[in-house]
Symmetry: C3
Subunit: 209 residues, 3 copies
């Protein structure tokens, strides 16, 4: 049975929370490179909004950040908070990792659904979904001149791939499964896989030399 | 009173001048990295045309560089001039800084107006306007493997933000203010803020450690 | 006389071969940086599909990689093969260079034709054609934090420029020349120029200091 929660409002709040977390992650990287106020805000905003913008450009949707002012506003405010209070924030790094896992889960699932909505095939929706989840972090790392962490460090992207497959394949049976059950299953899967991977230091296989 | 200058021709000449300056800035960076002829031309052209291309892709306009051959032609010629005569150019660096400030002012204002023309809200037009002004330089720095100067050095982007807000907000009263008065005010503001910032070495605030 | 080969099938096979080669080139770069499995696949796929995606975003076409599953599939498989068998592959580096020249030739010519098909002028079709050919390699190098090889090393991009001009200008007389004659001439020109440039270590001119 579907509940009668206001789904739009829930999604919006969740998405804005994800944006705040991703902006904080970008702003922290920029602070670490001693960039100035503007650099911190730009990298924070790009990290939060860039994955979605890449997705929207690829599927030919209007970039969300240009059509709803709340998205860039939250990104800018979160970046400013990091700029001002970053020493305090470094003490809550474990909390940040959990929030970042939540952001990854959310953005990937929402991005995958948007790909399906725009009429793309299952595999293509997975590509744009994963890109929504990891794209912002890749842009962040490219701007501060690091090899993107997601490409070398750990089980980050794999979690997104698994979740996007769940939601894209499951969408065929959405009427039986229920929209929220499907979304929550996929989100929870990414979130849990990511946290377990952090906890047990899973790593994706490395090439043999 | 609006004058009866041929506004289109004025804008075109100004824009082509801006493109030449930005191309020279990109080509100089490429020469500094000892890239070959093709590298110098590509980075010059990307620096001159990349900000506008990013804007056009985001607002779903046809990229100007692909619809008017004068834009890429000027970018390529300016890059070739730098390739051939760069030792002489390094002696006119102060002149280049002034021209670059003019290019920033012009591209930001024109980009903001284009955003409004395509029906985006004030804040969104400011985002694409600032991106038009600073995007090319960011691409240039990413290609030559530097952290984008605009993100760490000085009061460059702030000038663009101020000017784009003037033009985007002022556009509501455009009929009273007059199109050219508004544009010239915004362009002059960016240009003057930028030059004053260079002269007095203003810097955007840095994070505390 | 036009032959009655199934042109579509020939083009598809050739394109998929090009994608496999470019993916292998990206994956090899990623292996060289000791990235993990996911990093190798992502950089392989971006190198193979990124040039075409840039082109499609600029000309406002649907990205091919999102509309035909065979493209990303071949890119992923080729990347996985490199991940597993890279020591053996380094022994066939000369073969790889030849295949890469073939991929460059093919992608540039197909990209230029697609630009013309979408109604762009000759010069604009050349820009998007060259971008199709060299864009993937540029993305690859940006992600692994190298200055793009194509911008500094040798006669790579020049070959693409020459071939794209042949096909874009020749297209006006396509009915007299014949579609396949034109395409094969342009492809062969790029391929031969590139191989001769490798063999005789041609380099594009460097700036004087």
């Amino acid at each position: 049975m579907e509940t009668d929660i206001d789904g739009g409002a829930v999604t919006l709040v969740a998405e804005l929370a994800g944006i705040a977390v991703f902006a904080a992650s970008g702003a922290s990287a920029a602070v670490g490179k001693r960039l100035d106020l503007f650099g911190v805000v730009v990298i924070g905003a790009l990290c939060a909004l860039g994955g979605g913008a890449l997705r929207d450009v690829l599927i030919d949707a209007k970039p969300l950040a240009l059509t709803d002012w709340r998205y860039p506003l939250v990104a800018v405010v979160a970046s400013l908070v990091v700029f001002r209070f970053h020493p305090a924030l470094s003490r809550i790094r474990p909390t940040m990792l959990v929030l970042d896992a939540a952001g990854l889960a959310l953005f990937t699932v929402i991005g995958t659904l948007k790909g399906l909505d725009y009429g793309f095939a299952v595999y293509a929706a997975c590509i744009v979904g994963v890109l929504s989840g990891i794209g912002g972090g890749i842009l962040r790392d490219m701007l501060v001149q690091e090899i993107p962490a997601v490409l070398k460090e750990d089980f980050y992207a794999m979690a997104a791939v698994v979740g996007s497959i769940i939601v894209a394949v499951g969408a065929r049976w959405e009427s039986q499964i229920g929209h929220w059950t499907l979304m929550l299953t996929a989100i929870a899967t990414i979130f849990v896989v990511r946290l377990v991977a952090i906890r047990y230091r899973w790593e994706a296989p490395k090439p043999n030399f």
